[in-house]
Amino acid sequence: MAMKTNYKLTKKDFNQINRRNLFFNQLGWNYEKMQGSGYLFIMLPQLRKLYGDHTPELKKAMKTHNQFFNTNPSVNMIIQGIDLAIESKEGVKSLETVSGLKTGLMGPLAAIGDSIFASLLPAILGAIAANMAVQGNPFGLIIWLIANFIIMYIRWVQLPLAYREGTTLVTKMQGQLNALTDAATLLGVYVVGALVATLINIQVPFVAHIGKVTVTLQNEIDMILPKLVPGLLVGLIYWLLGRKKMTSTKAIFIVIIVAVICSALGVLGKG
């Protein structure tokens, strides 16, 4: 007979899941199933409560949740919250639905989560911290630490919200998240532009002597546009990165070699 579970998750359960997620997620990351075993580990105690120990239902549920899974670790609790909401209502017969939901949600959530939590925020906070650090000031690091504690809080409150709202959460959030991502990327692009103009201390030390006239090339460039050299160099590297078979690591080494050559020729120098 199809067993229906009537267990409702309590605050204690939420705390246990959140603790496991915050301190142990991704420790089992591997090439075969990526965060698969992590997904199971995080909610194993609750699965045992839902289905009961040593039942065929629990074994089936464990197998379902030990499959390939990978998403951004800042938003994964949304998926597990919705999953638990469905499973605690429908029981073992919902496992197929839940599998589909997991694979359906992990991609889009990874895209949003990665662009905001893995790319944009670390870039902006990292730029502020690094900007202060290269001047010997550690204050920016504290800002970063505080900001990341706020993100931890956001990760903590996702679960009860997703559990309460269930599948309706996805449709509700879609539009707002798109608008937010768009605005956040705009700010990101703008900030990168500002950083290019401040944090690349490169100039052209080349001085030409034409008869009695001395021409300092950097002065001429500054008259056209200050920070033109850093701007052009970033553009050049951006183009380089777009070439086939180019990786960021390769690009970094190419830049080092070219910089050493240009420095030896007296074309580029530290500002």
Partner: protein, 307 residues
């Protein structure tokens, strides 16, 4: 003291390198970032400022590098630890250490990261088997064992390099400072240029074409203001030394102010998007209702014909 790192320093740096990868995978407190590595390694080695400079430079280099879909990323944290430790112990210039030690180490460490991720497959297979055996506590235990490949993938190479790399680095520094001055200068230039790579990588992940206007705006605004502020600053400090009555504080351009201007544009964009969305929802609901009306009136005509 040049050229040698005390054993307790090696030990603390190794422990930190093992902690940071756990942090990076789980709570993400930012302690695993290169700037923090610079501060912590600098504190252990007794020169916080130098650590911050090296950490900050490497942070800017990898600004846009994230782990997407579980790919290995360049390990700028371990690179910072080794660059800071050797730069302080062997008396190497900070910018040179970034390019000569930080970056090569960071990219070599990709290999140990891959090894760690690969080793964890072993525990995954044990979990697969333990599910059939319904051994719940063993499942959890074997999941947690996954922490060892991770922390050892950082701890072992960092320990070995710190313990045995010192002599090699101090010899290299001597050669660089005497016979290869041009290379030393070149590496320092490279260190200063590396943030450009970080920014370019970041732009690759952002919708540059869509927001190109804001890229130009952010760049030009900051280029003008920073030049202005720098000039006023040097003018002001020079004047203050010449004339006693001339006082005042002269700061460099406020990046927070520059960022706030960008935030204003971002807020506008957000509002515009949500308004647009409401409009499309309204239009679609209106279309639906008018369709129904249309159906109703058609029905009416048919009834009329039958009359």
């Amino acid at each position: 003291m040049h050229g040698s790192i005390m054993f307790w320093q090696v030990l603390l740096l190794t422990l930190y390198s093992m902690y940071q990868i756990w942090d990076d995978l789980t709570i993400v407190s930012s302690l695993s970032q290169p700037v923090w590595a610079g501060l912590i390694a600098g504190a252990i080695m007794g020169d916080v400022t130098k650590g911050l400079i090296i950490g900050g430079s490497l942070q800017l280099t990898v600004l846009g590098v994230g782990t997407f879909g579980g790919s290995s990323k360049i390990d700028a944290n371990s690179g910072t630890i080794l660059a800071t430790a050797f730069s302080i112990s062997a008396g190497m210039n900070a910018s040179t250490a970034v390019a000569a030690i930080g970056v090569p180490v960071a990219s070599l460490m990709i290999q140990t990261d891959i090894l760690g991720r690969f080793t964890n497959t072993f525990f995954q297979h044990r979990i697969d088997r333990l599910i059939d055996e319904e051994n719940y506590s063993a499942i959890e235990r074997n999941y947690l064992y996954g922490v060892f490949p991770w922390i050892l993938s950082r701890g072992i190479p960092v320990f070995l390099a710190l313990q045995f790399g010192g002599n090699f680095v101090s010899t290299a520094v001597k050669v660089l400072d005497t016979h290869l001055q041009w290379l030393s200068n070149g590496l320092a230039t490279a260190g200063a240029l590396l943030p450009a790579v970080g920014f370019a990588i970041l732009l690759r992940y952002l919708p540059v074409k869509k927001h190109i206007a804001y890229l130009i705006l952010g760049f030009t605004l900051t280029a003008l203001f920073s030049t202005l502020y720098t000039n006023v600053q040097s003018l002001g400090t020079t004047m203050a030394t010449v004339s006693k009555g001339f006082a005042g504080s002269f700061n460099s351009v406020s990046m927070v102010a520059i960022a706030l201007i960008g935030l204003a544009f971002a807020i506008n964009e957000y509002k515009k998007n949500t308004d647009k969305q409401k409009l499309t929802e309204l239009v679609s609901s209106y279309k639906n209702s008018s369709k129904e009306e249309l159906n109703n009136s058609e029905d009416g005509e048919i009834y009329g014909d039958e009359d």
